[in-house]
Amino acid sequence: MTLRRKPYSLRLKLILVTTIATAVALLVCAGSLAIYDRWNFTQQLNYELTTHAKILGANCTAALEFGDKANAAEVIRAVSANHRIEIVVVYDKNGKEFVRYTRPEALRKFPAGFSSENILSAANFSATSPIMLHDEQLGSILLEGGEGDLTIRTRTYFLVAGLLMAIAVAVAIGVASGLQRRIFDPIAELVTGMAEITQKKDYSLRIDDKGDDCNIPSFSPPV
């Protein structure tokens, strides 16, 4: 009984080792990709916020110069099309708030009258840019981007990565099960032969070495 169970146990161990090695490799790979993706996403978001800040700032120059708050409000309201941006604040040249736009969903996070220091401390991602007209600074603009997108992205990433890992592990188990025969069939044959010799005391029995691991033409058990 013990002799028959041993090869099976080794087979299982080999499959497990192969599967675990595959899973760990995939986990390291997925983790590295997740870290890179997060870094890349934050870089992209910062770039996007900076670009928006510059564009909006350039479009606010006339409104700032003429003190037209309605026009400035209309200009910065354009960011409502970008759901990543939660709040935009335009300051005049004295650093006083000129106009602001807060996405309705972010009003709880940034209530009216929330100071710029508080906005910056509560911000996940932010960008500021001076508003220039020729060589003169007319004011500055602050944009804040929420983390919501990143959370959804990370969640989706891990869901997809988990699913792919499950598929990959299943494939690894299948492949390992198929390939382990090449290693274990000769061993199983050897074990069966030995058991037969032990039981029948037939020392004329020969077992062919199908591989080249033992480097012997045939196996002859010791008498």
Partner: protein
């Protein structure tokens, strides 16, 4: 009647002063959003000419010495039409439709911005006309005249204009 005049006249004057202060500030701000063909008027002066109006006298002088496009602003009271040729901006008083058209013809290709505050100034061909709406100073722009006068006006400025004649 005299008492009534004495009572109301200072208030009216104060409002008018405030209005012209705002308009003077607007002239300076508008100039920042315009581009001139400076090759037509070399030198390092940016001349704002006042033509046939005294309404700006007290307020426009504050612009003296400021800088527009790297040139030092100089405000001058123009004595004749011939002086218009030296100006980048000319603020025109209420001179009537015929005179406005005459001035527009005079400024053709001269890279001079014609600014006025009379009713229908822009409609009559002036480049930028101030109008009062609910006690607020607004402005209208005549882009066609600006093109003819060889003054380019930034689209950012046009977004603030009450009306743009194209």
């Amino acid at each position: 009647m005299i008492i009534a005049f004495c009572l109301f006249a200072p208030a009216r004057t104060h409002a008018s002063d405030r209005e012209h202060q705002v308009k003077s500030g607007f002239v300076y701000s508008i100039a920042k959003f315009c581009d001139w063909d400076f090759s037509k008027k070399p030198g390092n002066r940016f001349v704002i000419g006042i033509y046939r109006t005294r309404a700006f006298d007290l307020d426009i002088d504050v612009l003296n010495g400021k800088t527009i496009r790297g040139r030092s602003v100089s405000v001058e009271q123009l004595r004749s039409e011939a002086d218009i040729a030296n100006c980048q901006v000319v603020i025109v008083g209420d001179v009537g439709t015929e005179n406005i058209r005459h001035l527009v013809n005079l400024c053709k290709n001269s890279s001079t911005l014609l600014v006025g505050e009379s009713e229908g100034f822009t409609r009559d061909g002036g480049t930028i006309g101030f109008v009062l709406r609910d006690g607020t100073v607004r402005f209208q722009v005549n882009l066609q005249t600006a093109q003819v006068d060889r003054v380019s006006i930034s689209s950012k400025l046009l977004t603030l204009a009450e009306q743009v004649f194209r």
